[in-house]
Amino acid sequence: MNYSGAKKPNIETVYQQYADMLYRVALSTLQNDMDAQDAVQDVFIKYMSAKPDFKDEEHEKAWFLRVTVNRCHDMLRSRKVRLRLHAESEVEPVNPAPKARQELFEVLHSIPEKYKSTVILHCLEGLSLQETADILGISLSAAKMRLKRAREIIKEEEKDV
């Protein structure tokens, strides 16, 4: 991939590189397929409109993740998303997700929004805590604390079950 003023890659190439990762992050955050698709589509539209310059691949990846996380948070804030509440789970989905994914989403559902992105980026996407903190625009100690709190909440949930 070309960076810093070199000819930009076409959208198909960029899509192939990042779509799965961004969709995973969006779906885990929003827990709704259509909303996750809308969020990822908005991110690529922003990419095509802004035509940002990137120093390197890490910079590009961080930009995509930051914009995706922010877009998901905007959607959650504006209440346009249809959060998958427990009450809704009574409705049989057309394509039910695998059991392990449902369990994973149950765990993520129990984590407050404030801590969820830290868990998704660090524990599931495998980013370092420093990278996670940079993407979320928080300090390293704040990222550590959010992770610690999320772990405590999950532990409490497991105890209750």
Binding site: R24, Q37, V40, R101, S141, I154
Partner: protein
């Protein structure tokens, strides 16, 4: 935090095929160039106002009262009565009353001793917010080690160090 099956389930999430069509057929938004000067001016004003506000209010500044004295830098105090070697044997614990005023959720962790909460619960660490009254109970030992209490919130962290002066038996609490 997650088991292997859940991690695999996460890794196996793929963007649906229809998303590709949506993205490649989407048209980039035209930028509203004419709004840039107006928005820039407004943003600059807001940044200035918020910058001044943040300058005077940012940082982690817990209000700590240590043994009845406000701990802004250093507090020196004596235990209620000077202790003799015999007293030390009969009353081996030093109890220091502490009052904390915490604007945010704060983790409190001590290196030595035990914290006694208002409800009598005894803990070595906890998460607190608002006005909290604690009793820090520390064992008096012959070598007078330093005892530390760390306060950590999302805004930052502070550490209180408690040391005993061997010559006059006073205690020094310092926050930094």
């Amino acid at each position: 935090m997650f088991d292997k099956k859940q991690m695999d389930a996460y890794s196996n999430i793929k963007a649906p095929d229809e998303l590709f069509e949506k993205v490649v057929n989407a048209k980039p938004k035209k930028s509203k160039v004419y709004l840039i000067p107006l928005v820039s001016s407004l943003a600059a004003c807001l940044i200035l106002v918020f910058g001044v506000a943040v300058f005077f209010s940012s940082g982690f500044n817990p209000n700590v009262t240590f043994n009845g004295q406000s701990l802004t830098d250093t507090v020196v105090f004596y235990d209620i009565s000077p202790i003799s070697a015999m007293d030390m044997r009969s009353s081996p614990m030093l109890c220091v009353p502490i009052e904390l005023t915490l604007d945010d959720e704060t983790d409190v962790l001590i290196s030595e001793g035990i914290l006694i909460l208002e409800n009598g619960e005894r803990v070595q660490q906890g998460t607190f917010e608002g006005n909290v009254t604690l009793m820090w109970e520390i064992e008096r030992t012959g070598d007078f080690p330093e005892s530390k209490m760390s306060l950590t919130s999302e805004k930052g962290s502070k550490e209180i160090t408690l040391t005993q002066n061997e010559t006059d038996g006073s205690f020094t609490a310092k926050i930094n």
